[in-house]
């Protein structure tokens, strides 16, 4: 009995150790985004609240927390309130299988990659439910766009994951990272075209620029979350940024060698694994912000064309190429 309680307490502690820093990371990702985009556009970004505007995310959070939650009269109450919770929870539960260092993972399951893929494919529900329950045309259009877009790009993501799996020979994330060890032979090098496609696909999957048509403010106001206010909106916002960090983590795990140092030698191995992992996440996050500052928004038909007619055949071809290469040179992991 005592053992049972202790193991539950240990699991809860582990979850807190992941979720706490993650939420802090989300808060400062918004700050970093505004600073980076500001620098790219020769502005300062947030600078008045605290030194270098460092307290700005806290102020924003407090503002959202203190506002009134408005539920539209025509809304479907239960689903309207359920949708932001689903979005937020889904963006957190995926972290259970992400390894921060060798053995430093909440749940080291055999089908880790499939679990991540499953959770990311569920993300669409929060958005669709929000759009439908709001009983508003803009929100509904945003939700429809979002679900079509996420389903389209998930297929490309799935095929890219298959290419990586063939190289690593395992569905376990720790083993995928270990398969990339040894003098920087990360999968970003042999799978470079897939890394580029994966980057674009995760931009679309998280509804970020240049694929942020679900919240296209010029034509849809802000899309699926237009009727949300206060903490309900904050949950969507947190979920979106937590998803970005999660996708960056998946990118780092699959292509950038997770917690591994670039070279297995002196100055690089001084930093512990989790620090390398976080640095890699920051690198991918920077690409998210960079894309937002630089690229114009796609038109919707162009977005669909890119997903179905370019990424899908290309990643399918890459799966065939990878497996052919592995078989021809007898490299398949036992």
């Amino acid at each position: 009995m005592i053992d049972g309680i202790l193991s539950v307490a240990w699991i809860v502690t582990q979850i807190m150790l992941v979720v706490g820093p993650l939420l802090l990371g989300v808060a400062y990702a918004t700050w970093a985004e505004r600073k980076i985009i500001g620098a790219m556009q020769l502005r300062q970004g947030p600078m008045t609240v605290g030194p270098y505007g460092l307290l700005q995310p806290i102020a924003d959070g407090a503002k959202l927390f203190l506002k009134e939650t408005v539920i539209p009269s025509g809304a479907n109450r239960g689903i309207f309130l359920l949708a932001p919770m689903i979005t937020f929870v889904l963006s957190l539960i995926a972290w259970a299988v992400i390894p921060f260092d060798y053995g430093m993972v909440i749940s080291d399951i055999n089908v880790g990659v499939l679990y991540l893929f499953a959770v990311s494919s569920l993300g669409v529900y929060g958005i669709v439910m929000a759009g439908w329950a709001s009983n508003s045309r803009y929100a509904f259009l945003g939700a429809l766009r979002s679900s079509a877009q996420m389903i389209s790009y998930e297929i490309a993501i799935g095929l890219i994951i298959i290419a990586v799996l063939i190289s690593a020979g395992s569905l376990n994330l720790t083993e995928i990272v270990l398969a990339q060890s040894g003098n920087g032979f990360w999968y970003v090098f042999p799978h470079l075209p897939m890394a580029v496609v994966f980057m674009a696909a995760i931009l679309a999957e998280t509804n970020r620029h240049p694929f942020d048509l679900p919240e296209d403010e010029a034509s849809l106001v802000t899309g699926y979350n237009v009727e949300y206010s206060s903490m309900a909106f904050a949950l969507f916002f947190l979920g979106e940024y937590a998803n970005m960090i999660l996708m960056s983590g998946i990118f780092a795990t699959l292509f950038l060698g997770g917690w591994l140092a670039p070279f297995e030698m002196a100055p690089f191995t001084w930093l512990p694994g989790p620090v390398w992992f976080i640095l890699k996440i920051c690198l991918v996050l920077f690409v998210f912000f960079w894309a937002r500052a630089t690229l114009p928004r796609y038109r919707y038909d162009q977005l669909m064309r890119l997903g179905w007619k370019v990424f899908l055949p290309f990643s399918l071809l890459w799966v065939v190429l990878t497996s052919g290469f592995m078989v021809a040179f007898d490299l398949l992991p036992a």
Partner: protein, 203 residues
């Protein structure tokens, strides 16, 4: 009562309750959401039975793709609820019959309804020692049942072609975007510098 058994009854109970709600909910969108809940509980039971690969595939395929399309269609259609209620009693005997047949089949498969004990579950999912069930499934699928697997693929291909033929129609002359042509368009073909005399315009 062990924890695993408790979790099993919880998942099974919620699964059956959600399945009942799928057919009895007044709002079709709620029905689809309850269907998703039922899928999730089924996936949880797969995990309990040690079939984690099937559990994940169930979530990816059914919840992540099929149910999204259900939800999509149900939300887009404005379904008349009273019309749906009218057919309920008419189709009830047929539905009950199908349910009964399924139940009898389950009885025949398992002998008894002792799903809660470990033996039938172990019989249903024989995982070889020292092998994850992804490996076991892959081994069986790509060696013993290779041709059946290929055949399933071909049937799916036929279904895809059928779906495309049914929906493809000639819409007459459509102005199509040719991305390759747009990208390869050079400046001289698009822009012309002309000297315009004032008051005359380009003749």
């Amino acid at each position: 009562m062990t924890v695993a058994l408790f979790v099993f009854y919880l998942l099974a109970g919620v699964c059956i309750a959600a399945a009942v709600m799928v057919v009895s909910a007044r709002n079709p969108v709620h029905s689809v959401l309850f269907l998703i809940l039922a899928f999730f509980n089924a996936a949880g039971m797969f995990v309990l039975a040690g079939a984690e690969f099937l559990a994940m595939v169930l979530v990816v395929v059914y919840v992540g793709a099929v149910a999204v399309l259900f939800l999509f269609v149900v939300m887009m259609l404005d379904i008349d609820l009273t019309a749906m209620r009218e057919g309920f009693l008419k189709f009830l005997p047929v539905g009950a019959l199908i349910g009964l047949v399924l139940l009898v089949e389950l009885f025949l498969v398992f002998g008894t309804l002792s799903v809660g004990t470990a033996a039938p579950i172990a019989a249903a999912v024989p995982v070889p020692e020292g092998m994850s069930n992804t490996e076991a499934l892959g081994g069986v699928l790509y060696t013993e049942y290779f041709f059946a697997f290929q055949l399933a693929g071909i049937i799916l291909l036929v279904a895809i072609i059928g779906a495309i033929t049914l929906t493809l129609r000639d819409r007459g002359p459509v102005k199509r975007q040719d991305i390759g042509r747009q990208v390869h368009r050079e400046r001289p073909a698009a822009v012309q510098l002309r000297k315009v005399d004032s008051g005359k315009g380009i003749g």
